[in-house]
């Protein structure tokens, strides 16, 4: 089981919506991923496997976390699925 942090700057708005959507896609596809959510401060001491965030933030985080997954459109489940599959593939 992989551990994902879903985060945004505030940890209240986009990250919550993103977590709701990510959990739907993870459940529908039985992806071995567990999500928690937080703000950028949660990244300090983060020990999980990937960070899911909005694309603008993902670019900033790329060098700080093991894997940064950036979503462009949160209602686009196909995009989310594709990007999570790419993450899982990178772990094979």
């Amino acid at each position: 089981m992989y551990k994902a942090l879903v985060c945004c700057r505030a940890g209240m708005g986009s990250s919550m919506l993103l977590k709701i959507k990510a959990d739907q896609v993870i459940k529908e596809n039985n992806f071995p991923i567990q999500t928690e959510h937080g703000n950028l401060d949660s990244l300090v001491g983060f020990s999980g496997d990937l960070v899911i965030t909005m694309e603008d933030l993902a670019d900033e985080l790329k060098n700080q976390v093991p894997y940064a997954l950036g979503i462009r459109n949160i209602v686009d489940k196909a995009e989310m699925k594709e990007k999570i599959e790419a993450f899982l593939k990178s772990k094979e």
Binding site: R9, A10, G13, L18, E60, I74, V75
Partner: protein, 146 residues
């Protein structure tokens, strides 16, 4: 629920805005007037975008302006605003933005259900058709209270 966090006073339809910053300030104004947020909260919404980019643009034509609770959220609330003319936020995938849902998040749990409902609405074409068509906030409230 969403209907508990918004009301007709927090809805502004057909706002005229000259740029993204103006759009956020005008969309957030009713939340300020209704004492849901402080001025500093609006300033932090804008500062956040200047700092890290237009990450609050979450889907095609949809933005969710919000800030850190400690920036001045007084009460959890969601404002609904539509722009007469869409504006560019600098988010290539989803520009231009026409619909703004200003979020004041006071408490983690209180607004979670409302956000889940909002996530559903983002996929509801009929909701956006209504936003385009009506100038009556009551109609929006009736729709989300269904």
């Amino acid at each position: 629920m969403l209907k508990d966090l918004t009301n007709e006073k927090l809805i502004r339809l057909g706002i005229e805005a000259k740029d993204w910053e103006d759009a956020i300030r005008k969309a957030a104004q009713p939340l300020l007037d209704e004492h849901k947020i402080k001025q500093s909260y609006i300033d932090d919404m804008i500062a956040g975008i200047k700092e890290v980019g237009p990450y609050i643009v979450l889907a095609k034509h949809i933005a969710l302006p919000h800030a850190r609770p400690e920036a001045g959220a007084l009460e959890s609330a969601i404002g609904v605003a539509t722009l007469k003319e869409p504006v560019v936020f600098g988010n290539e995938a989803n520009d231009p933005v026409k619909y703004l849902f200003c979020l004041s998040a006071k408490d983690d749990m209180e607004h979670l259900q409302a956000l889940a409902q909002l996530a559903e609405l983002f996929e509801d074409q009929a909701f956006f058709e209504l936003l385009d068509r009506t100038d009556d906030p009551q109609e929006i409230i009736a729709y989300i209270s269904k």
